[in-house]
Amino acid sequence: MMGESFAWIQRASPVQWIAPHLRSRVLVAVVFLLALLFPVIHRNDADIDSAANALTYAALALGLNIVVGLAGLLDLGYAAFFAIGAYTYGVAASWQVAPEWTSFWETFQWLGLVARFHDSGGDVVHFQVSFWLMMPAAAALTAFFGVLFGAPTLRLKGDYLAIVTLGFGEIVPIVVRNTPSLTNGAMGLNGVMAPQLFGWSFGVDATPYYYVGLLLVAFLILTSQRLKFSRIGRAWMAIREDEIAAAAMGINRVKLKLLAFATGAAFAGATGTLFVAKLQTATPDMFGFPVSVMILVMIVFGGIGSVWGVVLGALILQMLQSWFLEDLSQWLQALGRLFGVDWLQRVELASSIELIFGLILVTMMLYRRDGLIPATRRVAALSLEQQSAPVTRGGFDSLRGLGALDQTLDRPGAGPLLEIANLTVRFGGLVALREVALGVPAHSVLAVIGPNGSGKSTLFNAMTGLVSAEEGSIRFAGAEILGRPPHAVLERGIARTFQNIRLFPNLTVLENVLVGMHARLHTGPLGALLRLPATHREEAAARERAREILAVFGNRLLPRVDHVTASLSYANRRRVEIARALASEPKLLLLDEPTAGMNPAETLELAEQIQSLHRLGLTIVLIEHKLDVVVNLADKVIVLDHGEKIAEGSPAEIRRDEEVIRAYLGRSAAIV
């Protein structure tokens, strides 16, 4: 992403001798070095102070970007977490709370967390926990609050979540104001300790805070980047793009949303520590709605979801606020004096900064929603040569990890792999499925046919946990799966495609397939952050396997691995969806009209590929309207009409069944 955004640099000659894959790294190193040298070169304390503040906001923007940009959860009360972090350190390193001294505190005194202070009314405890200890501690505590707040609310639809977070953002300052014993209420915390390093106190000099801020931002950029391009980041983006599809591909939505919320909150908590240490005071007003909006404006301006974009957005807007607006006001005032215009002489742009933020927010939304540095990469269209490459026809001979079953399930007489009994699904008064029963033996292909609206897709939805059934049972590989959440169903080995194709439109073909592997990979947030050799190996193997799966479709998808799926043709989207399902190493594959929207040649090609999957041992249930496909692929056919199973048998038997002819094929008597 960096390489692309800064493509213009590559045209300048001095960078020519840097290897292309290193250029973005060199650029980052140069920027970081310049930032390190800034206070040494500039030496203006006021400017260094502004820069330190700007870094604080960049850190906040990075945190909000995890929540809003990656996971797609609009949080309008983000400043509340900032407040919790700030007050956590503020209370732990000030005179605000001073209980009477008892022997209980001696251990803490020995650890250096508290001091014994002689007061006129007796000895009291003075909290003086180290800044360096409190920064991670506050981050952890804020993350805990993030989980506490997120657990009940993250199930809400996006816009409701927004208003609940807005309320949360309003409530936290109110609670702070209403609990003066802990926070000194509206008067504000006083005498917060400055951080100390090897006995030297930071005091009020801006430079040390600048360096702490710089290191914090650098660390958070690294964290964001590593998370974004990991199993975790892909899962977040999948949830953002299509929650239902994400769940059906094995992503535990609640867990990952909570993780995003907690991560974002932790960023804010750590930043709050720095903020309060630098100011050495805090009042509830510092964490109101305007702060939440300002951070939102920063990430919208920089580019929602783009790590470098939001840092740039935060820095630019803060610089605008502290430097440029003042200069501009002075110029305008000078202009006013020159021409004798009274109101120009009184212009104070700095006070209208929030108005300007509002205007930026609306303008960006209307004219440049992707921000300064867009997060989505658009890859150039294929060359004519690539497009017209001959299409491979037919099936394939091998693909690893298909349909492998336990020995117990795979021996003769083990019973069907999937067994549905008495399944009834009701939507309001409408019966979508009535007492449906079916069995799918391992390694077989079952076709489900029936007119539109007969309940076929509902059957798939009930099997994959997307709709709840009124009664019945669905046993898969010997265990009941009815009532299990979608991600748990996928983990057990059932993967599906959707009739109206539910890909993650702004993710690439490769990323879509990698999301399909979510349940089979193990990298957690810590692994992604540390990038241990094991993580590296796992990721490389996953990419290798994703390409293998895409190769199933010959050269249809391989030249397009880095294209966002929104730019693909209808048939290719279907293929990516099947590839994504295969990536989860399913034991049972559910295909919902895989050939819809394909022409006869494409249909034949795909039918042969499905045939290959079957030959390689995969068990398949297929909803299909094209009966020639059904006849060629299926071992058995069931016919649904009005949510009821009206026939079951071999394709040939179904063809002869009078009721099927009447219900599904229509009143053929009229035409014969």
């Binding site: 409408l430 007119p451 539109n452 609206g453 209808y570 020639d628 009005h642 063809r655 229509g666 009229a670």
Partner: protein
Amino acid sequence: MDPGLRRELGAAAVITPLLEFSGVDTHYGDLHVLKSVDYRIEEGEIVSLLGGNASGKSTTMKTIMGVVVPTAGEVRFDGKSLAGVSVAERVRRGIAPVLEARRLFPRMTVYENLEMGAYTRPRGPEFAQDLERVFTLFPRVKERLKQLAGTLSGGEQQMVAIGRALMAHPRLLCMDEPSMGLAPVLVEQVFDIIQTINRQGTTIFMVEQNANMALAIADRAYVLQTGQVVLSGAAAELRQNPMIREAYLGEMKVE
């Protein structure tokens, strides 16, 4: 007009079709849906549009109504181009839709749903006449005027949906899968009603999956596949065409 009479007249004079698509393309974002499609629907006909899911049938209906705007080509109604014509004006000129899956307004009464069908027309004697016509075709609808549409059965909903479209007093009725989700006996009823409406003088353009049924009552048909018309002609002939029998009637060779 009687289709037979129309055909005799057609031999004598060049008649402008009621609805004509010439070289129509449509896109959804990067997705190319209809690809240079031509249709020609004469006044008084029943024309069926057959094709699998995602072949572009519903897009055709949306293009006729003006909800989807063609990226190339032209749609003409009664000889006049529909480019830039609003949905309301199309309804006023005589095109009315029966939407896929009925799509009634569930928390409005049956009467209010019928009123919405006549949204573009003033209340007056014609409104009352059309209402009477709907009641004659569907006596059941009259019994349920005050009921909320969402509480009706599927068959009743389809009757209200057709009635709602008739309230626009259309010359062309565009039906998107009228048989969807209905019990076989109801499907036959609906198709009988469609024929009755057609005999009363309304031209019908119908998207259908139930190919046998659609071809049984249609004069002509088009077959759509991945956004292209791959086959068209008289319904009786298409019923004998091996390609359509294989692909859409399930007349496959049983080995």
